[in-house]
Symmetry: C2
Subunit: 354 residues, 2 copies
């Protein structure tokens, strides 16, 4: 299904408002989800709307919740998400980190009592659009194993970095610290496909190509950490910088946003950092240096004598540019998830989206 960005956002806003979310919060949420889809990151876009709506209706996500700063200092703030939508409290917290950075050069906002916030890159790029470097990261329910462990230790704890780059679109790195994000395994399971060896291990730590070993709940297996102890180490760092630094329940107390009782807050945590380039003299040369470095990388010899060396986020921005012009070509899984949402709320899939 091909659908215009504005139409898809409108559909999200309508659905969210129908379950009691205010229009500004619904717009914020829609913009985050649809940005992920426009980037082609369909695992973190509107495909998940139904799961969020279910929790909103059951009360595990509070439709009228309001994130608030519970403590702050010159360069930092702690935010209680009030069990509101992860996108609403995530945008609030990133905005807070940006404000702190404007005052001090650096800013941090720690967010607790939130839910799954979608694609981490959507927050990091907010800083880049304000002329800042941004970092965003979150914890999640344990699904990823570690060297020496038989089962899950940490979540796929995503990490994102973004920076403005002059003439180029912002550089955006957005990665799970697992070998692949769990969403890719769910996608394979939905499609009835097998997965490459190395993505998932079973309960004894043996590799498997059967995605349902992981997608079953309770899980009968775990995702693997990327690059073994390095991915585990990064996930450990992210857990520390999110839940522990924000004073939240640590990893073992989190609830799954997609599987657990939808009436109970999941208690996710996240962390947002911003570096204000305008505060520093080096900020004057930063964007020129970034675009020069990108040009230099593009000009390097290519493997196989051809092709292209992509900058982090470049493929996603190319998809975004096409989506702005031609609409987003949603994959079947997202379409069927949307149809379920529309049906359950008595909404029409917009006519332009057939």
């Amino acid at each position: 299904m091909r659908i215009a960005i504005e139409e898809l956002e409108k559909l999200c806003v309508t659905a969210l408002c129908r379950v009691g979310v205010s229009e500004p919060d619904a717009r914020t949420t829609a913009s985050v989800l649809v940005l992920a889809d426009a980037w082609g990151v369909f695992t973190h876009g509107v495909r998940n709307l139904g799961g969020y709506l279910r929790r909103l209706q059951a009360g595990g996500i509070r439709p009228a919740g309001r994130p608030r700063i519970t403590a702050d200092g010159p360069a930092w703030a702690l935010v209680d998400g009030d069990a509101t939508l992860g996108m609403v409290s995530g945008v609030f917290a990133m905005r807070t980190a940006i404000d702190k950075a404007r005052a001090c050069g650096l800013g941090y906002a720690g967010l607790r009592n939130t839910c799954h916030f979608g694609a981490a890159g959507c927050y990091a790029v907010m800083a880049a659009k304000d002329g800042m470097i941004g970092l965003a990261m979150a914890n999640d329910t344990p699904t990823v194993t570690a060297p020496g462990a038989a089962g899950a230790v940490f979540g796929s704890n995503p990490f994102s970095f973004a920076a403005p780059a002059g003439d180029e679109p912002p550089v955006v790195l957005d990665m799970a610290t697992s070998t692949v994000a769990g969403g890719k395994v769910f996608l394979a399971a939905t499609r009835g496909e097998s997965i490459p060896e190395g993505w998932v291990v079973d309960g004894e730590g043996n590799p498997t190509t059967d995605p349902t070993v992981f997608t079953a709940f309770p899980h009968r297996g775990s995702l693997t950490p990327m690059a073994a102890h390095k991915g585990y180490g990064l996930a450990f760092m992210i857990e520390t910088l999110t839940s522990i630094l924000a004073g939240a329940g640590v990893v073992r107390t989190l609830a799954s946003w997609s599987f657990a009782d939808p009436s109970i807050p999941t208690d996710h945590s996240a962390a947002f950092f911003a570096v204000d380039l305008a505060s520093m003299p080096t900020g004057r040369t930063f964007q020129d240096s970034m675009s020069r470095m990108i040009r230099e990388i593009r000009a390097l010899p290519k493997a196989g004598g051809g092709g292209r060396i992509f900058v982090p986020g470049e493929l996603e921005w190319a998809r975004h540019a096409r989506a702005v012009k031609e609409g987003i070509e949603l994959p079947p899984e997202a379409v069927s998830a949307l149809r379920q949402v529309a049906q359950s709320l008595g909404l029409d899939i917009p006519p332009g989206a057939a």
Copy 2:
């Protein structure tokens, strides 16, 4: 060769002072190098002393250089390393970041005009010892390829995170963003051993098990990025946060600290971040939560039904504790490198170190 920590530090200090480094700077440098050796990270310890001495004697590292803050704000500072030893300007800059964090909650120091700084973990752990979270990272000469590239794009750009953990030693993650650090490939080459497939590719991007493809200078091959595009993305972030944010020459202008004309400064860059836990109310629970999380992880089911799940840095601290009691068992490569240093400067290898 087994040698006491103090003896090894004394040897380093004597050698560094002999080529014109002040005693305080020599002590700083020795403590960083010997900490790496005590952790068992021999690729980044005294084995490299000879290379630093050669540059100190030729002027590419300035023995009497003084790192200085060139600009600063509430939470940040930019440091010119004055082409001094990477360890001297690295410790100065991390100390600066810690001071800034004490004032604002967060601190950043960007360091340019420095040289190879050894093991990144030595700086991050300085923050942990002051009750802070620390991050340290550096760029390096291009040795690591990227998806789509035929040759090197970034350095192995190391990244380190450390945090205090109550009763437990500080958690320390210290990793190269290549699949393995270049030092491990040099070690294999020195020993005449082959390397596992996946560490190095040749000039056409084909895997090789011959370490000399990489250790030749100019290199005939590249290291691989860890986890492909993710390691490349992290290296990109680190390059941005080090050279570009510090206003230094970007990656293509760096000189190799071990191969290039030793009379020319290498122009390495680094970045140091600190988060002061005492500034935040969550700092009061942080260390208890860390040690509780560590205990929870240790108690999880083990792969194969036995063994242990290690926390980042745990193995290194266990080696460190043994080194404090019994001395450091230096590997043959480090011993022969030290003997060359001692010979060229007319020093005795200490008698207790036979």
